[in-house]
């Protein structure tokens, strides 16, 4: 089985109703380091992530998954959204549903789903209806659902934007564990503190353009682009 990564973005552009959302973004995302797409609201982070994951088609340019065909590539990734979408069934059944769709053998589903709940610390909620769980619990369940699929790449779109500080810490710990277990993590955030805590490398988006790409340490110490410098300076008081 050939590797899913690297992910190649080739002059990716996206326009919606005449407005340019993404302007010729080119980058290569390799296996290993946690990649954080950083930028202000409206910079195009979420659209870029959806294009990478195949939920949106770029209006120009192309996305390559190491020469794999799109359906094959899609099967080997997962995504967690800012607002978790849970089905009207138990927490455990939500994970089992994803495994069933991924054609995991029926005999393996239960054990794998329970293990995934265990990994994110919501095993005790297995039989509770998923949609009445708290926001933090639902997001952890969303992470369990994605992790259970054993993806090679996990996309996270502002996974803590709706959560309180304690739930945010829990989710960040789970993301670190997913990375440690060998899954490539790609996440978006507008929160500098979170980017510092979780990023190995930064892709900085400003107004639809990729203005800077650097290892996290270098990015925060010596931002090269004026936009990134202004963002770091402007954001600091809130972190």
């Amino acid at each position: 089985m050939s590797s899913l990564l690297p992910l190649g973005l080739d002059e990716v552009g996206f326009r919606a109703s005449g407005r340019v959302i993404l302007d010729r973004v080119s980058a290569e995302v390799i296996a290993g380091p946690r990649t954080v797409i950083l930028g202000a609201n409206g910079a195009g982070k979420s659209v870029l992530m959806r294009i990478c994951h195949g939920l949106l088609a770029p209006t120009s340019g192309a996305v390559h998954w190491n020469e794999l065909a799109a359906p094959e590539a899609a099967r080997r990734q997962a995504m967690v959204f800012q607002r978790p979408v849970m089905l009207r069934r138990s927490a455990l059944a939500n994970v089992e549903y994803a495994l069933k769709v991924a054609r995991v053998a029926p005999t393996d589903r239960r054990a794998r789903a329970v293990e995934a709940l265990e990994n994110v610390g919501v095993r005790h909620l297995a039989d509770r209806p998923a949609r009445v769980l708290s926001g933090g619990e639902q997001q952890r369940l969303a992470l369990a659902r994605a992790w259970a699929l054993r993806p090679e790449v996990l996309f996270l779109d502002e996974p803590t934007a709706n959560l309180d500080p304690s739930a945010t810490r829990e989710v960040e710990a789970i993301i670190a564990a997913i990375h440690a277990a060998g899954t490539k993590v790609v996440m978006t955030t507008h929160n500098l503190g979170q980017a510092r805590r979780l990023a190995d490398e930064i892709l900085f988006l400003h107004a639809g353009r990729l203005t800077e790409r650097a290892p996290a340490d270098a990015f925060f110490e010596r931002p090269v682009s004026a936009e990134a410098a202004a963002f770091i300076k402007g954001e600091l008081p809130w972190t």
């Binding site: 959806r50 979408v85 769709v101």
Partner: protein
């Protein structure tokens, strides 16, 4: 018109109703004496009497009504819920026209549906050989056609609202097409109760379609609405009114039960 002719020929056997109940009440409006208000009060009393004594005729008519309408709701739901979900999820040319058509068909006049089914089932019609005209089956067919667009249009709306919320997550998991429609149908099951209830309300309340294809034959195809229409025109307000009360109570009961089920389930599952 044929239907009505048969009706009047077979309209027998209700006069016994007046023989019991409250003190020899004849069930007819007295030609002299008594204000209209008195007449209503007397009819109401008689009606309560019929209900209290579980009049055989009343029960027969009410049972057939419920059986016909519930069969129609079941049949229409089996077809309309998947249809509504498919229209909600699929993208194809002419989809918007289909949605407008479905919404417009919610207002189908029952008599027109009755007429069309009558033409299909009449001796000379394409399905005449089945001999279904003036049977309960014909009434079920007519009511199914009548409420199918109602359930489909309301289901389409409910499922599409859910699709807006679920689409990215489901597509990310690789769920599309029929699988997505099935998942959404199951996930919106509590709000779809309302769509099915709207169909039931329409089916149990309509008179035009069942009158034409059923013929209101006493003991065979007489249901509550056709009986009410007949008894009112004959002047037997007691039976008409008691049937009306039973009809309203039944619809109320079914709706209350559905509401309780839906609310408690929604509280539990969010």
């Amino acid at each position: 018109m044929l239907a009505l002719d048969r009706t009047s020929r077979s309209a027998i056997g209700l006069s016994h109703v007046g023989d019991r109940g409250a003190g020899g009440w004849t069930g007819r409006l007295a030609p002299s004496g008594g204000t209209p208000l008195n007449a209503i009060a007397e009819a109401l009393l008689g009606a309560l009497g019929l209900i209290a004594t579980r009049d055989a005729k009343l029960i027969e008519i009410a049972t057939l009504s419920v059986a016909v309408s519930l069969s129609a709701v079941l049949l229409a739901s089996l077809l309309a819920l998947p249809l509504g979900a498919a229209v909600a999820v699929a993208r194809f040319p002419g989809r918007h026209a289909l949605i407008v058509l479905l919404n417009a068909l919610m207002g189908l006049p029952p008599v027109v549906v009755g007429l069309v089914v009558y033409l299909l089932l009449s001796r000379a019609g394409p399905l005449g050989e089945l001999g279904l005209l003036f049977t309960p089956t014909a009434m079920v067919i007519a009511q199914t056609l009548l409420i199918l667009p109602i359930i489909a249009a309301l289901a389409r709306q409910g499922v599409e609202d859910a699709w807006i919320e679920y689409e990215e997550q489901l597509r990310s998991l690789g769920v599309t097409g029929i699988a997505a429609a099935a998942t959404l149908l199951w996930d919106t099951r509590y709000s779809l109760v309302t769509a099915v209830l709207a169909g039931l309300g329409r089916a149990s309340a309509e008179v035009g379609a069942v009158m034409i294809v059923g013929g209101n034959i006493d003991g065979v195809t007489r249901v509550m609405t056709t009986a009410i229409a007949l008894e009112t025109s004959k002047g037997d307000l007691t039976l008409a009114l008691s049937l009306g009360i039973v009809l309203i109570l039944l619809v109320l009961l079914l709706n209350a039960a559905a509401f309780i089920v839906k609310e408690s389930a929604q509280r539990r599952y969010g």
